[in-house]
Subunit: 145 residues, 2 copies
DNA sequence: CTTGACCCTGTGGTAGATACAGGCTGTCAA
DNA sequence: TTGACAGCCTGTATCTACCACAGGGTCAAG
């Protein structure tokens, strides 16, 4: 199949397929006489594997690692477990900080309900006061990373 | 104060301060005779405001918008509410999809506990099978964005 | 007089794509 | 036959929000 078809069948962009090839994640395909890429079913499996890992939030470096593990089936799978555990920890961490963020935003939002002038807007006042180090009426803000 | 001090007092990097200036988020400071940037307390408030918004997960475009609102206190604050509401929706969305992701990763992790060979590893098998379109023993995987 | 901590500009890199520019190939209809 | 249009090619630039240099200037202390 050609690049347009494999892209459609794996639900991603044509440019993304070429990008994965450049990155060494997807095997280099054969070429037709006119220079067009010619993909096999194996490429489709590879591409779906990559997209699946990406949908689990893994970075391309992790995908590369998993693919090399696949290529060496005699190795022990401790490293795979570690990789997945690391991924779980990262995601958990992200969830926690985003939930905190969500609560902070709700509190901020509650400081302004009515349609009033900006000079009286609780949100702007809140954000500005925090910036002036005068504390904040709705919560103790965290520092950016 | 000089750039090193304002950076330290707003808990960010010197390069980041120059970056905000280039991006037009932080007012251009005066210069000393030797060319060094000279900041006032006003700049510190501006910088803290930016860092505070960033800590709430807002993008620099939103910060720019908020700063322009600050500069026009006679406007109604409907737009500010919309901006914050949009931010809340984005964060909520992110939390939800990450929580789903976390559950999926836990299920995936549960398919491999023992120290065994990769050829028998449930994780690799799971990821590969999903890629082959044979379904997945632990859950229905979502597609990447 | 040298060391070391600052500061300057400018450029390039990160992740994971996305979006062209500019050009070739292939197929269909008028 | 000609023209339109979709699809493919390479290569480069763009995006976010910075971080990390290189290569150089400035300044106070020892």
């Amino acid at each position: 199949m050609r690049i347009g078809e494999i892209a459609k069948r794996s639900d991603c962009d044509v440019e993304t397929v070429r990008f994965y090839e450049r990155e060494g994640l997807l095997d280099v395909p054969a070429r037709e006489a006119n220079g067009y890429r010619r993909y096999s079913e194996m490429h489709l499996v590879q591409l779906n594997f990559i997209r699946h890992c990406r949908s689990l939030g893994m970075g391309l470096a992790d995908v590369r690692t998993l693919r090399s593990f696949q290529a060496n089936p005699e190795l022990a799978c401790d490293e795979i477990n570690q990789l997945i555990d690391g991924q779980i920890a990262r995601i958990h961490q992200q969830v926690e900080s985003l939930r905190l963020l969500e609560r902070q935003l709700h509190m901020l939002r509650d400081t302004c309900h009515a349609n009033q002038k900006i000079s009286e807007c609780g949100i702007i006042r809140n954000l500005t006061q925090a910036a002036e180090g005068e504390g904040c009426s709705c919560h103790p803000f965290g520092k950016p990373n």
